[in-house]
């Protein structure tokens, strides 16, 4: 994650740094994992998996804070306790794949808050979202390696 100063002058930006975000993400996620482990001894593995998945997106969103449209959108979804859903594949029946399909529209469905972004903002937000996603994935892999060793 690069902490480039934003040309739009986000108020929160100067105090955020790479190390800070990663640390916040890790501590939030680990705390959530610990809570889940304590409170789900009788629940199903699928239920626990859903909670872990939710915790993953929550720690991403909380560590990014409100300075990004994608994280604000994610936080809204999490707080409304709506199911976290991301489209997995285009339903081929509904939309036959055209050669010039608008990939920007597809991307808007994948990035939280996408539908309300113009093309330029979409690219910025996508780049930031990818950085946080890859960090979260690496974090989860690290936790897995630690637990299973």
């Amino acid at each position: 994650m690069e902490s480039k100063s934003s040309t739009t002058g986000n108020r929160d930006n100067p105090n955020r740094n790479l190390h800070g975000s990663k640390t916040m993400m890790a501590s939030h996620f680990l705390r959530a994992l610990f809570r889940i482990q304590q409170t789900s001894t009788s629940s199903s593995s699928a239920g626990r998996s859903r909670r872990i998945r939710r915790a993953a997106y929550a720690s991403m969103a909380y560590s990014a804070g409100t300075r990004r449209a994608w994280s604000r959108a994610l936080l809204r979804k999490l707080r409304s306790r709506a199911r976290l859903r991301f489209p997995r594949r285009l339903s081929r029946a509904a939309t036959p794949q055209r050669r010039d399909m608008d990939q920007a529209q597809v991307l808007r469905k994948l990035v939280p808050g996408g539908p309300s972004m113009d093309d330029c903002k979409l690219l910025e937000e996508t780049a930031d979202y990818i950085r946080f996603l890859t960090t979260q994935v690496r974090l989860m892999q690290t936790v897995m390696d630690s637990i299973s060793s």
């Binding site: 996603l133 936790v143 630690s146």
Partner: protein, 86 residues
């Protein structure tokens, strides 16, 4: 789409596109970074994000299975506790 019309230069778009391209792992990059392949780049980006979402889901499943074998006194729980300590 928002009605905001931003005076974005081609330069800025290209900058964002190449920034995005640099975030994709090597195996997904295509040779040319010209404007003509912007659509391909977006397609790769969508595909990459989908695979990341799947990874989060897969890792959640595996973590859940691992945690089933843990109890609060197990060494694994201790690892998590120690990772939480400052």
């Amino acid at each position: 789409m928002s009605g905001r019309s931003s005076a974005i230069t081609d330069e800025e778009i290209n900058e964002l596109v190449s920034k995005l391209q640099s975030l994709l792992p090597e195996s997904r990059r295509r040779r040319s970074a010209g404007r003509a392949s912007a659509s391909k780049l977006l397609k790769e980006t969508c595909s990459y994000i989908k695979s990341l979402h799947r990874e989060v889901e897969d890792l959640s499943d595996r973590l859940s299975d691992l945690m089933a074998t843990m109890d609060s006194n197990s060494p694994q729980a201790e690892i998590i506790r120690s990772l939480l300590r400052p």
